[in-house]
Symmetry: C2
Subunit: 335 residues, 2 copies
């Protein structure tokens, strides 16, 4: 009746390393009346967790030393004293980096079992997918024939942004960090082009790939990539600012941003996106995205590590940009 957990051992300065985390054997909790116990099947590794650890997240409390690392999970209900859940139910919830958690059901969503793998509910059909969907649907509003650029294009948000762009009749251009990622983005995801930002001059590459300039840029990284894309904005361009992974491991004063004269010249809009604002649209999103998936319109790639003892290493690889696809920790299959 144990509960294996990964807890914070030391606060990272800059990039995290596996030694900042440690495995701990806890006791399996017991659900009281109105509560449920669930067993974690998959853990999502996401860049925002770095901000939570440092106490820089907009809402979540900082992770304390010895605390379990937070994270979105797919789990199976083991025992339920909650009217809405029964043993065997598959749920998306916030178990974090541990085998078992007791919850009062808040934040838990029941999942249909006919989506495989279930880990997709942590990727293109989960919070990253909602992020892409909300940014495109409610902020960027791409029109058929427009060109949409997205950074971190092989990741779950980026891959969904480009595929939604294609569904809307747009041209999709990705930016990614290796030739293999770029090949996946064009050949498997169906983007029209993808640029390896680590090779050559990104500003020139963007102009070559897209001489007609960009109508939408969905930014997941900030930094030099944002600056480069801003050199090629079409009149009326919309830039969705979503993640700033290049800043998550920086301590001290945040780095400056791009010169904004180009926003004026292009009459562009720069729009801040926080996915939590769209949680009331989960059902709309899930219905739409699961239908696209079942119709074969959505492809994906996962970067799965097995076992809790590999969670920290997987997270550190994600922070170094070495993952390829949605970073997932697999703990168990459903029963």
């Amino acid at each position: 009746m144990t509960n294996l957990q990964v807890v914070l051992r030391e606060y990272p300065q800059g990039l995290p390393e596996p030694g900042h985390f440690e495995l701990k054997k806890g006791e399996r909790p017991v659900p009281a009346d109105g509560e449920l116990l669930s067993r974690t099947l998959y853990i999502s590794l996401d860049p925002y967790v770095r901000g939570v650890i440092s106490g820089k997240h907009l809402y979540a409390d900082r992770v304390g030393l010895g605390d379990v690392i937070v994270g979105r999970t797919v789990a199976q209900v083991v025992e339920s004293h909650h009217p809405d859940f029964k043993a065997g139910d598959l749920i998306a919830c916030d178990n974090g980096w541990q085998e078992y958690k007791v919850s009062d059901g808040s934040g838990a969503r029941k999942l249909a079992a006919d989506i495989q793998p279930l880990s997709l509910h942590l990727g293109i059909l989960g919070m990253p997918g909602l992020t892409a969907y909300a940014g495109m649907t409610f902020l960027a509003k791409p029109q058929p024939g427009e060109t949409v650029v997205v950074s971190a294009a092989s990741g779950p948000v980026g891959s969904m942004v480009g595929q939604i762009a294609k569904i809307h009749g747009c041209r999709a251009v990705g930016i990614a960090g290796s030739d293999a990622k770029c090949a996946f983005v064009t050949d498997s995801l169906g983007f029209d082009a993808c640029i390896n930002y680590k090779k050559g001059n990104l500003v020139e590459a963007l102009k070559n790939v897209c001489p007609e300039k960009f109508n939408v840029y969905f930014d997941n990284v900030a930094g030099d990539t944002l600056d480069a894309v801003m050199s090629n904005l079409a009149i009326g361009a919309r830039i969705v600012l979503c993640g700033m992974i290049t800043q998550y491991n920086v301590s001290g004063t945040p780095p400056p941003g791009p010169n904004l004269a180009r926003i004026v010249g292009a009459r562009a809009s720069m729009l801040g996106l926080v996915v939590y604002d769209y949680y009331d649209r989960w059902d709309e999103f899930a219905g739409t995205a699961e239908a696209w998936f079942k119709a074969g319109k959505l492809r994906f790639k996962e970067d799965v590590v097995e076992g809790l003892d590999n969670a920290a290493d997987g997270f550190c690889r994600l922070m170094r940009g070495e993952n390829f696809g949605k970073a997932i920790v697999k703990l168990a299959d459903p029963e």
Copy 2:
């Protein structure tokens, strides 16, 4: 039959000085069929002219050495062979820094004589006024009870932004560069508060003046002021980027902008404004603004120099931020 002009003598590097310009006595031009000759009464001195001189303007051709400096003017028709204009008509036009100009009438707007002083058609009832009106009406869309902040608040754009904010039932907060300007902004223009950015810490001053944070920021300057205001954005804030006077005299690589993480956190929108996009709304704007003015809802301040020989000095003072109110050169009264 002469035509006094101010021409470019030398391209300025950084801040312009009067020695970069020189007076020249030209010949008064003669209008052909379909043309009109007008006499300049008032010249508008505007920051954008610095960009035209350097060839950095979005549309206007660079001013060549020996060329007359460009500028919006109020003029009176002296002789007309154009069906829409007759001698004596008052017009807003683009005569630039000279006494007389022949034109085919394009870009000329007839002015009602009942607005006094006529130079207002170069300020709050002219292009700066349209800039403020368009940015507020079509981009910022302020709602009653919201707080609107504007930089360069004693200038023609800034003073109009704040007064439009008050007309819309908003709280108006100005930022200006001297105690005298701030006193004018609150006491005469009716803003709720104004901060002298040269005194103390602007971030702290903004928080003190406005603990409830800002819903709209109309930026006329960029640089450190934009950065400071971004530390205090309300959720859903709109930032209108209009002018970047802190950059107009910079040569070489444009300086970096503010860190954009705050745009994400506030779900803010940053919106580029170019006034030329709204020229088709002149009649709507002029009708609205002239009615406000006649109803006593608009106050203004002008910084007038007399005579073409003082135009260069007035422009250089404007570039150094030493003007107080709309910078105008007065050449003559109407006949």
